[in-house]
């Protein structure tokens, strides 16, 4: 066996090294030094991120590479999406330092980071997998440790409840997913994506359709597509904010890309006849139902849960586009979504850490007491709602443009529905802004406070992302060039 192909997995290996460093530090360092675990993890991860991004521009990284007899592949686009996730994880880590250094976390803060890194490793595998076995390993290792992360607030009852709910639904959806896989295996006789794609759609069509539906349901659980989304709100609300932001941004972004890969590589043949329509229905349901629920939420974490459900619907437009522009716009959307949502979670986390308040009514008149945090939150809301010139506008614009290139009337109608839904979403995003900025009679519940410097750093990065990505289209052009030069199949191999 040629061991050099292991080197193709350099990002995974490097991540593993980060994990081991954190693990060793946490286990063997003296008690005092353990206080710095969070900072240590962040710094090491930051170095890893920088190296990993720098690696993209190294001429040695332009070629595609495979390992394990084609079960694992990597290439420029895949490296780019992993780096996008890295940036997001880095922001999450920075934002979580204050929380992780809290008193009740003393013995366990290492575990949180170890679990987090393991799930990230699972996501890497999901993205790179071209065989369902590896994909399943990735999916599971990206799901199960998350349940532990959700349950991290030991003293809060909601945290346990959320973890149990998450675990039960995750297990159930895994079962459905594997059921679908077994059908697929029965039909194709192989679990390689490329073999499955050769499967002929004909006599066993009923089985194929059900198999496809189960696979979509299994992945749709992680993406929280309606109707597989019901766990989302309870879990987001119950989990500690750091876990919620990780769950809503990184986990969702990684799964969206993995989903794209699966649908194109394994089931690309069925796009036209079958899954285009399944996804079509799911997108409409997801965006609409997510919006309808978001309107009435009073708890901000729950509110962002529903907002992220409807955002997932928009992300899926990049999959249904089924072309290279769709790939680029999906990646760009995920990146922008990372910055916008993390800015929102950063503010919520900072306020929760300082005062413990997460209800929208508490935010009334926030601009008078904490003008900077309010401003960050406003930018995040504007970007999520897609108001120009913030990044969210362009990501929505590009993802619509990608879908419209499909050119069928059905897609036009889909984009129209999505557009109408943005108006609804505008309403509830502005509710938050209104609460913060419209003067009220009563003084604000949240006193003026100074947030920790790490929290501010996280917010600065997110806000810079919202503004810079909005003005400079360079980054999108870079992604688009990369994907269009390789084509739809080439870009994700």
């Amino acid at each position: 066996m040629d061991y050099s192909q292991f080197l193709a997995m350099k990002q995974e290996i490097a991540l593993l090294v980060v994990f081991l460093l954190v693990f060793l530090y946490d286990t063997f360092m003296p008690k005092k030094a353990q206080n710095a675990t969070a900072a240590f993890t962040t710094v090491v991860f930051a170095i890893f991120t920088v190296l990993s991004i720098a690696d993209m521009f190294c001429p040695c990284s332009t070629a595609d590479a495979t390992a394990f007899a084609g079960m694992y592949v990597t290439g420029p686009v895949i490296m780019a999406i992993k780096n996008i996730l890295n940036i997001g994880v880095l922001i999450v880590l920075i934002q979580s330092i204050k929380w992780a250094n809290g008193e009740f976390m003393i013995v366990r803060r290492g575990e949180f980071y170890e679990l987090l890194l393991v799930t990230l490793f699972g996501m890497y595998l999901m993205i790179s997998a071209r065989h369902f076995l590896l994909f399943l390993i990735g999916l599971e290792s990206a799901s199960l440790p998350l349940a532990a992360m959700v349950a991290f607030d030991k003293k809060r009852y909601e945290s346990h409840e959320a973890a149990v709910k998450y675990l039960l639904t995750a297990v159930f959806s895994s079962a459905v997913f594997m059921m679908g896989l077994s059908f697929v295996y029965g039909l194709a006789g192989s679990l390689y994506f490329s073999d499955i794609n050769l499967m002929i759609f004909g006599e066993n069509s009923a089985l194929a359709v059900v198999a496809l539906a189960f696979v979509i349901a299994g992945v749709g659980f992680k993406l929280s597509l309606v109707p597989f989304h019901l766990w989302t709100a309870d879990v987001y609300q119950g989990a500690p904010t750091s876990a919620t932001s990780y769950l809503s941004v990184i986990s969702k972004g990684a799964t969206a890309f993995a989903f794209l890969v699966v649908m194109v590589q394994a089931f690309g043949m069925f796009y036209e006849e079958v899954w285009q329509w399944m996804l079509y229905a799911l997108i409409i349901l997801t965006i609409t139902v997510g919006n309808l629920f978001a309107i009435r939420q009073k708890n901000l974490k729950r509110f962002l849960a529903f907002s992220s459900i409807s955002q997932a619907g928009y992300i899926m437009l990049g999959v249904i586009a089924f072309n290279a522009t769709g790939v680029a716009s999906l990646m760009y959307y995920v990146l922008v979504y990372i910055f916008s949502n993390l800015a929102a979670f950063g503010v919520i986390g900072a306020i929760e850490n300082a005062t413990g308040k997460v209800d929208m009514d508490d935010y009334n008149g926030l601009s008078t007491t904490n003008p900077r945090l309010s401003f960050c939150m406003m930018l995040a809301m504007f970007s999520l709602a897609g108001i120009p010139p913030f990044a969210g506008f362009f990501s929505k614009f590009f993802i619509f443009a990608g879908a419209l290139q499909q050119g069928t009337i059905a897609i036009y109608i889909l984009v129209l529905i999505a557009l109408i839904n943005t108006i609804v979403s505008l309403y509830y995003y502005l509710l938050v802004v209104k609460a913060m900025y419209i003067k009220t009679e009563e003084p604000c519940q949240i006193p003026t406070f100074r947030s920790a410097c790490t929290e501010r750093l996280g917010l600065w990065i997110s806000v810079a992302g919202i503004l810079v990505l909005g003005v400079g289209a360079v980054f999108y052009n870079y992604l688009l060039e990369m994907t269009t030069s390789l084509g739809l199949f080439g870009s994700i191999m």
């Binding site: 639904t169 979509i216 597989f228 443009a401 290139q405």
Partner: protein, 676 residues
């Protein structure tokens, strides 16, 4: 080729705008003024260097030698794309670039813009403070806006594609708006700035539609795709080619046998609509109404924006797309007619104004119309396209002497604190520098040899004569009026009667050096600029050509100008009742001229009575009842739906799983049923 200098030309003013705009309040006004002026001085030096290099270095990217039609060797100026990165990419051909094109007219404009802008920056240091040396409120803001304007205008002239031009076109409009409304506490300034913005925006709507029509049918934005062909063997270098324009039209437009709309080809519509944008910016009839009011802004601003640079953007636009216009002579004829009528109208009105800045404003309108006419009558077969060269030549000389006149007017206003000549009379002994430089400006605009205006106007009249004798006579009449109203102004300001000095300690006097130096410099330029052989630099196809002065035309126009000046001298040099008698003899004409032929009143009538009353009110009703009603219905339905599905989110994990399973099964089943 290294693009650092060109990047700096755009980047320095932008940086100054950001610096003075954001941090201005922390700087003292003096520092802000010095910073702004120095930065503009640097940009001017860089622009001169660029233009000098372009015209004289002989670099193969900038010029080449070709064989002319008579077998002689001719030097041809080329178009060189210094940089042109994609700014916004949609797909395929549809992308917008922001670039820097160096060719003969953009190099010339670089010189004009930076020179005037630098002079104005310098001048404003003294102008924007009172006699005790106290700076005006918002002095830093003023310099920030000047920098923004310079950046926008430079970006406009070096645009590589029509969309970039449009972007910067709007930016100059915005900075003009900001500067006209600089004294935002004065209601007149506020309404003038609004008026300028709205009128030009309205015209730009036509421009935008024209761009969209043109690019919809041709699929490209870039000027090079419309008007030029690449030079073989050199990257990024193009030469102006009339063939490209006709090929573009033949391949792109004629696919469907030249689509027609309301009796004209779509191309004609596109070009006329684009010209409409130019009409707005260059204040052509009937979109001229904003320019006289724009004089509410500080006078140096009027010199920079509303005399020398921004208002000629319309002329520049037509010149830039000239090969395209040549394909569609209907559009050029419209340009000619609009220009000719405007020139005459504005000259008439200028004869009856009291406010000296208004006189200069109408004179600007009239002179820009000269340039428009000159482009409109230009055909390659008429004397090597003399009209195009003449138009650009006049643009150049006019920028210099009109800026001179405006800055002179600024000095006068600063001295007597009034815009009206009634407060000035007989100032020649008190302000000798201003007097002499103003006189040179007047001689230049009147077209007296050897001042610059004589040469450029003479070429324009030659071009008109080649085109049609009627246009020639018409424009000569306008030239006569020009000489008359300018010298009326001159005599009323500096002669007429002795100046009444109210307070001997505060007698009007020449201004400090930052204000007199620009006057002297521009006066010198106006004395010598006419001797430039402009055909060596700018022609319609880039090939150098020596245009000889047509002494018949020159003789006639010189005679006409001298006679007009003599008439003006007779009427206005000494206080006498003749002007009043003239006005009384033709009361109707005088009234109409004085009231600018009631254009403003006409607009008021149309907007208030017709548009507001007959269109806006019904639309408002529709908006309030139908559209708002629909929106309310949407909101109600959404809200109801939101309430009705809340049972789904029960919090019960068993239910969640049931819904999950049912969803997955339904997804498969329904899809399957639909498939068979």
């Amino acid at each position: 080729m290294d693009a650092t200098i060109q990047i700096l030309i755009l980047a320095i003013p932008l940086f100054m705008f950001l610096l003075l705009g954001l941090l201005g309040k922390y700087l003292s006004p003096k520092i802000a003024g010095i910073l702004g002026t120095t930065a503009m001085g640097v940009v001017t030096a860089l622009a001169y260097y660029t233009a000098f290099n372009y015209f004289f270095s002989g670099d193969p990217n900038f010029q080449r030698e070709i064989i002319g039609e008579h077998g002689e060797t001719v030097v041809e100026h080329l178009q060189y794309i210094v940089f042109n990165p994609v700014w916004l990419e949609f797909y395929g051909n549809l992308h917008i670039n922001i670039g820097f094109m160096l060719d003969s007219i953009s190099a010339m404009m670089l010189v004009v813009i930076t020179t005037i802008s630098f002079m104005v920056n310098l001048y404003s240091n003294a102008y924007m403070r009172d006699h005790d040396g106290v700076y005006e409120k918002g002095f830093q803001r003023y310099y920030a806006f000047l920098a923004l304007f310079s950046f926008s205008m430079l970006g406009l002239v070096v645009a590589t594609n029509i969309f970039q031009m449009y972007i910067f076109w709007e930016l100059v409009g915005a900075s003009s708006y900001l500067l006209i409304g600089f004294y935002y506490t004065s209601p007149a300034a506020v309404s003038a700035s609004k008026k300028a913005f709205i009128v030009t925006r309205f015209a730009d709507l036509g421009f935008l539609i024209g761009i969209l029509v043109l690019s919809y049918y041709t699929g490209v934005f870039s000027f090079m795709d419309f008007t030029s062909a690449p030079v073989e063997g050199l990257a990024d270098t193009y030469h102006i080619s009339l063939d490209t324009a006709s090929t573009v039209l033949a391949t792109k437009f004629a696919g469907s046998a030249a689509p027609m709309f309301m009796g004209c080809s779509v191309l004609t519509w596109a070009l006329v609509l684009i010209f409409m944008g130019g009409m707005g910016k260059s204040a052509m009839l009937p979109l001229h109404i904003w320019l006289p009011d724009a004089m509410e802004g500080p006078t140096p601003v009027s010199a920079l924006i509303h005399a020398a640079t921004m208002v000629v953007a319309g002329v520049y636009l037509v010149a830039r797309l000239f090969p395209l216009y040549l394909q569609e002579t209907t559009a050029l004829e419209i340009v000619t007619v609009v220009g000719a009528i405007t020139a005459f109208y504005a000259a008439m009105v200028a004869c009856a104004q009291v406010d000296i800045k208004r006189v200069l404003a109408f004179s600007t309108i009239s002179q820009i119309a000269f340039m428009m006419v000159s482009l409109g009558v230009c055909r390659p077969e008429y004397h090597h396209g003399v009209g195009y060269m003449a138009s650009m030549f006049h643009l150049f000389t006019h920028a210099m002497f009109k800026a001179l006149l405006f800055l002179g007017a600024g000095a006068l206003i600063h001295a007597v604190h009034s815009n009206n000549y009634t407060a000035m009379h007989g100032l020649r002994k008190y302000m000798p520098v201003t007097h002499w430089t103003f006189l040179i400006g007047c001689l230049a605009i009147a077209g007296i040899i050897p001042f610059s205006g004589f040469f450029s106007k003479d070429e324009i009249l030659t071009a008109c004569g080649e085109y049609s004798i009627f246009v020639y006579i018409w424009m000569s009449a306008v030239a006569a009026l020009t000489a008359f109203y300018m010298f009326r102004l001159y005599f009323l300001i500096f002669w007429w009667k002795e100046h009444k000095v109210h307070d001997p300690h505060h007698a009007p006097h020449d201004q400090p050096w930052p204000m007199t130096v620009p006057l002297i410099f521009l006066a010198l330029v106006s004395c010598v600029a006419g001797f430039i052989n402009f055909g060596d630099f700018v022609t319609y196809n880039g090939e150098q050509h020596t245009f000889d002065l047509d002494w018949t035309v020159a003789g006639i126009s010189l005679t006409v100008a001298v006679v007009s000046i003599a008439v003006a001298a007779k009427m206005y040099m000494k206080e006498n009742p003749l002007p009043d008698k003239m006005a009384a003899a033709l009361p109707r004409l005088w009234d109409w001229c004085y009231h600018r032929f009631y254009w403003d009143e006409l607009y008021m009538f149309i907007t208030h009575r017709i548009i507001f009353g007959l269109i806006c009110k019904p639309i408002a009703w529709f908006d309030r009842h139908i559209i708002d009603g629909t929106m309310d219905a949407f909101a109600t339905v959404t809200n109801k739906a939101s309430w009705s599905i809340k049972g789904l989110q029960s919090g019960n994990v068993q239910t969640y799983v049931w819904i999950y399973l049912i969803g997955a099964l339904l997804l498969g089943t329904i899809t399957y049923i639909c498939l068979i």
